[in-house]
Amino acid sequence: MPYAPWMETVSALRVKSLYKVYGNRADKAMEILRNSPDGDEKLAGLRVTTAVVDANFEVRRGEIFVVMGLSGSGKSTLIRMLNGLLSPTHGTVEIDGVDITKLKPAALRKLRREKISMVFQHFALQPHRSVLDNAGYALEVAGLPRAERREKALQALRMVGLDGSADKLPQELSGGMRQRVGLARALAAGTDIMLMDEAFSALDPLIRREVQDQLIELQAELGKTIVFITHDLNEAMRLGDRIAVMRAGRIVQIGTAEEILTDPSNDYVAQFVADVDRTRILTASAVMERPLGVVDVDSGPRVAARVLRETQTSAVYVTGRDKRYLGTVTADAAAQAVRDGRKNLQEIVSTDHVRTVEDTTPVADIFAAAAQSPAPVAVVDPAGRLAGVIPRVTLLSALGSLSADTGETTATPEPADEAGTAPTADPTRAVGAAGTAPTENGNATAEVPAQVVAEPSVRLTGGSA
């Protein structure tokens, strides 16, 4: 994550026990809610709508904080309280330590101009003014001279790749382009915080993907603090550094995409994430295992040969100084090196035999590497150290969503006699083997740990992906 440790202490945005209740008896409803946190039934007699109930969270500088929920879960109300478009029934919203719920209208407007901008679901561009004028709207409001405004607006349009359309009217652009104008308008404002209210929901799936990519790119460059509202779980998982799941006005869980996938706080969240394409969310680090056969590059080929025998694998993983991953040595190469009387593995270590992926690679992108590697794929961390390995069966297990906790599925046993033999080409057997994994899990791992990462007999088939 791009933020420095000292910044974590001062959140960009802090929300404390925030409530929004609509209706004439809002005060009474607040009292009930405050006294019994789950007292929704008691509100039945009152004609009130509880849009947001007891929201508490902090948004760190430079992170994308996604608020996800179905329509009617109160997320749009929540985001509108973050910049004071709606005033809360109870609670505080702090931006850089200033409680905006206490600000007078003029001070609130000043704060919006300087600190917090917004991107809207249906773009909310001014149809009677040019793309350039729209992009420079915040600057016009702030009273910047025309020339300076123009220049900054053009710069923002360039960032989103629309400087060529500056003189067009918004209606002459496609939906995706219009939302990029909306994004440029927020960027040109130059605020540290950006609120994005279902910003990509009105776009076609393909265009949405494109704009999401663009946002990720821009974010890597600019490091804004973004609060992103969406009802699309995949979008949330794709964009969010952290995700808050909302249901019926309450935030039911806050965590990273992986935390929410692997450890849902309740049945609702679990059900919600059931349909997610896990292979896109889970990264290599979530499914990788401890490599069994690791040897130092300075140890001799005999050590490597012995480890290979003990672990009954076809290759050992070789690390150098600072545990940096160098490559693998196969059994054949080790035997040859012993015969040649080599002192270390320096010359025979190779990265051709086994593919390497980074620990942040989505599982979906590991399949090709796994298919090309006879031994489990090596996973390296950003420093280049060997973080773990991923056998093919592990990938299949993750794919099959056999268990919410992927940790349990990592050790899928294979019959020992198949190790080293020609891979079976029967896909039904492969899926069957993975499918029975959890039940066999306990005893199999305990008894035959070596076979776990043995030459897998499972061939990955395109159909099962």
Partner: protein, 291 residues
């Protein structure tokens, strides 16, 4: 038993009469001021419109029509107004035009701000709407009676009765236009820290302008119809031509006056309509429909 015995006779008329009497007694300075203002607006305008020869005025209008709507409409304007100019009622037509312009100008000066106010406040809207209903459905002649009472006969009561009669659509369509502005666009203005005043001037009014222009068009059309009725209180112009023809049962003269009104109405309607179509937001709407 007679129903009149059961149900009370609420003396609206007496109350209204009393109100008018009181106003005339205590607010005479105000009415004199209004009368002076209206006269100072109408009379120079009548002089201006009747000063050049009829043919010059016809050509000016034709040119305006050409510029705003194209050569076909310019030609049509020339033919229509040429027809009127050929009749011996050109001066009356021009004075009717002056009355319409002044009356609808005053009506819009009142209607647009009122429309803005009631678009912002539901409560104000709830108060104003029934009043607008009353103004619109009250038979037009009824306005003339208190108007004469306050201002005597002449141009002033005719103009003011016209203002009252023609104002409602201006208020209503201003309110409608402003309420129709995309909520999210207004919200965007707020989110970027624009003041309510700035949002009104730079966002809401420009976006509501095509609808407001429809209101302007309606106000002018209503003013034109009322100005003829105002002829009965000596407002002059085509109204006088028509009422005189009515009292003297001159079918031909009445028809000529009527035709002049129709031609004037068509020209004014198309001209104001095309001004509305030339606003930036109307262009934006067309661009949206094409896309």
């Amino acid at each position: 038993m007679n129903s009149a015995d059961l149900l009370p006779y609420v003396r609206f008329g007496d109350a209204f009469q009393a109100g008018v009497d009181w106003s005339r007694e205590h607010l005479s300075t105000l009415f004199e001021g209004i009368a002076a203002t209206v006269e100072s607006l109408v009379e120079p305008l009548v002089d201006l419109l009747t000063a050049p020869p009829a043919i010059v005025m016809v050509l000016i209008f034709a040119g305006l029509g050409w510029w705003l709507r194209g050569w076909k409409f310019g030609l049509g304007t020339a033919l229509g107004l040429g027809l009127v100019a050929g009749m011996p009622i050109w001066d009356q037509t021009m004075s009717t035009l002056a009355l319409v312009l002044v009356a609808s100008g005053i009506a819009l000066l009142l209607a647009v701000p009122l429309g803005i106010v009631i678009s912002e406040s539901r409560r104000a809207s709830a108060v104003v709407r029934p009043v607008l209903d009353l103004m619109q459905t009250m038979p037009a002649f009824v306005y003339l009676i208190p108007a004469i009472f306050f201002f005597g006969v002449g141009v002033v009561p005719g103009t003011l009765a016209t203002v009252v009669f023609s104002m409602p659509p201006g208020v209503r369509l201003t309110e409608l236009g402003l309420r129709q502005v995309d909520r999210e666009v207004v919200e965007a203005g707020e989110a970027f820290g624009a003041s309510p005043w700035k949002i009104l001037l730079r966002t809401k009014l420009p976006l509501a302008l095509p609808t407001i222009m429809t209101g302007v068009n309606q106000v002018i059309m209503l003013a034109l119809s009322m100005v003829v009725i105002a002829g009965m209180v000596g407002a002059g112009g085509l109204g006088e031509v028509i009422t005189t023809a009515l009292f003297r049962a001159q079918v031909g003269a009445g028809f000529e006056g009527g035709i002049a009104v129709v031609i004037l109405a068509v020209v004014l309607d198309r001209l104001t309509d095309s001004i509305g179509a030339r606003t930036a937001s109307a262009k934006a709407q067309r661009a949206m429909q094409q896309a």
